[in-house]
Amino acid sequence: MDGNEDSGIFFEEDDHRAAYIFNADQPLSTQKQTPRPAKRRKVAKADAPRPHQDSSVELAFPPLFNGAEGSDAVRLRKQLYETAWPVLEDRIQHVLREANSNTLDEVTSFLQHAAEAETGKITAGFIITGPSIASQHLLFEQLGERLRTATRARFVRLRASEAPNLKAALKKIIQDATASGTDGEEVGDVEISHGGRKYLDYDLEALHVFLQQQQQQSPRVVVAFQDSEAFEGGLLTDLIALFHSWRDRIPFDLLFGIATSVELFQARLLKSTARQLYGAQFDVVQADSVLESVIKTAVAGSQAALRIGPSLLQSWVDRHRDQVAGIQVFISSLKYVYMCHFYADPLSVLLAGDGRLDRKLMQPEHIEAVRTLDSFKAQVEAAVEARQLNHAQSLLEDDDYLVAQILEQGQKRNEYLLRLLRSLHLVAATGLSSTSFTDLYILALSSGIDIDQSSGTVPLEDAVKRLRAEEFLSLINRLLMAVQTGSSDLGLDGWEPDAEELVGSLTDLRDEVDGLRERSKSNGTVLKSKYSAQSRVLRTTVVAQKVQLSQDTAIMTDEDKAFTKAVDALLDLLSENLNCGPIDNLFLHEAWVFDSKSPYRDVFVPCPDATFGRALSRPHDYLACACCAKANGGLASTLPTTAILYHLYLEAGALINVADLWSAYYALVGEESEPGLDERSALVCFYRGLAELRMMGFVKQSRKKADHVAKLKWLF
């Protein structure tokens, strides 16, 4: 196993610690006594006795339970991750690409038409992408693919970082426009020469000559400025003027990815330059609706192996709305959570279905871990409550019994999810709820679905009762349709065979109400129910006479009564079918729901300022040294120098006299005090501490006053 050592994906124990204490005082020789290679070999040896193991599996996922986890379980976790995520990633990519397809069509047809029109100006498409720069990337990549095939145009994508000045931009344009042969003949840089002349690499003449040499008929050159705000205004102006002056020889079209608005963009150009452009604005699909489809597919959909818990999901959605974290951040968050779950949670093996999980795999550690879960506790308590004492006792004591229960949970989970998704899909199909799918999903996970008007989470009852006959019929049709087709976004197939009863009753209701409507039509009355009758009166008061009014409410025809019954029957059906419990009701939900914010927030939204502040004001929390325990966030002479200086810094004003700071510091640690440093070593510490404060961006040399430093941070 010596080969492992240089494979690079080897984790040290320290990698997972929150703080690493670097002890510089320790002489080098003692460090050498436990050199790293030795450590590695030790780990490697511990692995060695296990027969026939796939070394790559072992390397990627370390065994948990302090190394006691069996290699099969480790391998299973890895397998689970490797089958779960890529599927999802593909689906997400598909959704993202789909979301752009409208914009792509529009832009392509715009450019095709523009090629025909003669205006003496340069055609320009302005694509409003929103502030998330990361999502522009995919869009422009797709644009490139599409334009190259659909219009056989030469497509050049420019990013501000690649084109810092005019020369570099031109160079890139010429290189890309000439190199990217659609036919794949020219690979790499083509040396363009004409009659022995070599062109400067920023000379558009080269591009001109190249295009003339192509057999193709005057291919257009599309230059796309991906993040146009990041370009220097002057550079854009120069480039546009240049393109304009060349446009009789090289047919340029421009595309601009704009994060803000066309007005702001235009304001950065010279008027005379703006006049050389003419174009149209394209809006890509709103980030919110893209997020919704991604959530539908990758979080709620049946293909998501791991469920994101409601509070974590809510925090992601909030973050998406409040911060500039675009859809890409959402996706990486999702991936990160998948990784965390399968990498660090030994119980994630319980997600394995189809017989990959068996009694052999379940070690005593797994069983012990299951017994510590909240949902286990809840399950036992519920059993006791229900006087199923045997069941409760077996759960607690009989390992085999528990394992059998655990193995059953896979089935239960699938049933729950199916019910959840079907209910959600039906709620959406009613069209009576104005809540967005995301909110509905989060609600369903956290508190379940219940359409009861007063106590339910999705109160639809009143809306259903108010339905008029036609609406009633179309609602039933929508429901039947939903059952029949399912939802491709959610990965939900139609479930007509499973729902014979529901379909049967719905069809009966439809036929009945249809008949009722026909009959009341021939009677010359309008079909109404007990519930909708009142609202009808309200409407008629404006026009009709009072006498008739009271009669109107009083008289319910037989048809009306039958319709009222039908409405009640539908309500019953709905409350039975649009129903599911919250996700944490399920036994063992911890194994397949991830609802903890902590590693995610630490990684994606770190607070460096707060962390620095904390470490400096209460170093004891990290160092756990004996000497500072009693300082408790206050100032103590035993604190590290930088921490002492930090405390003094907090008390100081905007400008700090270094001499004062020194005397305060020396008074604290000097000869008369507890540490009793002599002046020389105190001064060394002082300078080092001050330099560290400057490094961390707390102070800087002040230009206003000699011997003073300026305080840079005053928000804590």
Partner: protein, 470 residues
């Protein structure tokens, strides 16, 4: 055919040219005289005049025609035009000159690199002087817009002006906007001025190309209407704002369909000029004709201002940060306590318009409103403090609680600032502009105007006006 020492080129050429470019007959004739080898060819010539007065177009057209016809008259006139706008560096200019001259002479040796003016001179001498040319050979080299050449060494133009002294068969023409005195550092260079067009010029130029005939109207009637129409457009718009020929032409073509809509509809006849004018009055007052913007008019029908567009695009935090930056840019530091601290005054304070202006007599120096002035630089920490202060109040109406988001200085805030910076809504100022983005010492400035900010504020129910102290 060279029977006299001085004769002008074929009258036909000049006449047709004057027809294509009305109102430029004098210039065309002068130019022909100064360039035509049979007349009074000069060594250097400076053509100057403001934008779009036909300098480039006429020079190019004249040279092309002269070159076509000179053979029969015993001259061989070749020319090359180099447009400085297309040359990125001085070296690019030199190489373009050499290649264009070589092209014009159908020279097929491989040109060598050319990095300085002296190398250029050597190359040109090789091409024009040392290669034997038939008698009567003359070459005109035009430098168009040479005063706008990028990266030009300051000796460029005088050096180019020396070329014709070395090569006797060469005339160099410099087209510039307005030549400074002692432009070429040589004496007695003829200057040819292309004056700006007057109203009559404008009208006669534009009416030379009338639009296609209107329905039920003869081409002559249409042309008459077009002439009167262009004059009206000039009175309405061009005199004040659109002074160049292309923009005038653009305004005319843009207005024409709207102006003639009643004729198309059959409600007015093309002879009822004043009625048509009255009917189209609103269009004449429309500013978008002068400043059409980059969008075609149909696409801008949405009519949303930049402020609201931005408001829907930016998520909450960057929006608030942008507003806070605006406040930091436009309020003096000394007012910060009054504006943003809730410490002394309780929650409700009087803001805006400064502390009770009412009683005091207005001071003599009326100051310009700060929001109309450019924005001032601020320190990032100050903006963050303002952000922290206003955020609580502005989001008070917002029921959503932020929980752990409250923490200042977390990565999302940094990301929002970085995004605003990359969108150039916030810009770094001063020397540290290239340094670390999050360095607290650096200074920043907000880069959006009052209108946008007001819209942005209203989007979240905040009157930014209330938070500014003059």
């Amino acid at each position: 055919m060279r029977n006299s020492l001085f004769h002008l080129p074929d009258e036909l050429i000049l006449a047709t040219l004057s027809q294509t470019f009305p109102c430029r007959e004098a210039q065309i004739r002068a130019l022909a005289t100064l360039l035509y080898p049979g007349a009074a060819p000069c060594r250097n010539l400076v053509i100057h005049g403001t934008e779009a007065t036909g300098k480039s177009a006429i020079t190019a057209a004249l040279l092309a025609r002269l070159a076509d016809r000179t053979e029969d008259e015993g001259f061989i006139l070749s020319h090359a035009i180099v447009n400085s706008a297309e040359c990125i560096t001085a070296r690019h200019l030199y190489e373009t000159v050499v290649s264009k001259v070589a092209n014009a002479l159908s020279w097929d040796g491989a040109p060598s690199r050319c990095e300085t003016v002296s190398q250029l001179t050597v190359e040109l001498v090789k091409l024009l002087k040392y290669t034997p040319r038939p008698a009567g050979f003359h070459f005109v080299l035009v430098f168009d817009g040479i005063d706008r050449q990028r990266d030009a060494p300051h000796t460029l133009v005088p050096a180019l002006a020396r070329l014709s002294e070395i090569i006797s068969s060469l005339t160099t023409v410099f087209i510039v906007t307005s030549p400074p005195p002692r432009f070429l550092l040589t004496s007695s260079v003829p200057h040819l001025h292309f004056p700006t067009y007057t109203k009559t010029d404008f009208v006669s130029i534009v009416s030379a190309s009338p639009p296609p005939a209107l329905p039920n109207t003869s081409p002559q009637e249409t042309a008459d209407l077009w002439t009167r129409f262009t004059a009206a457009v000039h009175d309405a718009l061009a005199r004040a704002a659109s002074r160049t020929l292309p923009s005038f032409h653009h305004a005319c073509t843009a207005l024409w369909p709207r102006f003639t809509a009643p004729v198309h509809a059959g409600t007015h006849s093309p002879r009822e000029f004043s009625k048509l004018l009255i009917a189209a009055r609103v269009h004449f007052q429309n500013e978008r004709l002068l400043d059409p913007g980059v969008l075609t008019s149909t696409a801008t029908a949405t009519g949303s201002g930049a402020g609201t567009a931005l408001a829907t695009l930016l998520p909450t935090t960057p929006r608030l940060l942008l507003l806070a930056s605006y406040l930091a840019s436009h309020n003096a530091t000394k007012h910060d306590i009054t504006l943003f601290s809730t410490h002394y005054h309780g929650r409700r304070r009087r803001r805006g318009g400064g502390p009770s202006v009412g009683g005091r007599p207005r001071s003599k120096h009326r100051k310009i409103a700060r929001k109309l002035l450019g924005s001032h630089a601020f320190v990032l920490e100050r903006m963050l403090a303002i952000f922290a202060a206003v955020r609580g109040e502005w989001e008070a109406g917002n029921t959503r609680d932020h929980g752990d988001n409250k923490e200042e200085g977390h990565a999302d805030i940094g990301m929002a600032i970085a995004t605003l910076a990359s969108l150039r809504l916030l810009v770094r100022v001063g020397g540290g502009a290239t340094g670390d983005l999050m360095d607290c010492g650096g200074k920043w400035r907000v880069n959006v105007g009052w209108e946008v900010i007001r819209g942005l504020g209203r989007g979240i129910g905040v009157e930014v006006e209330d938070w500014l102290i003059e």
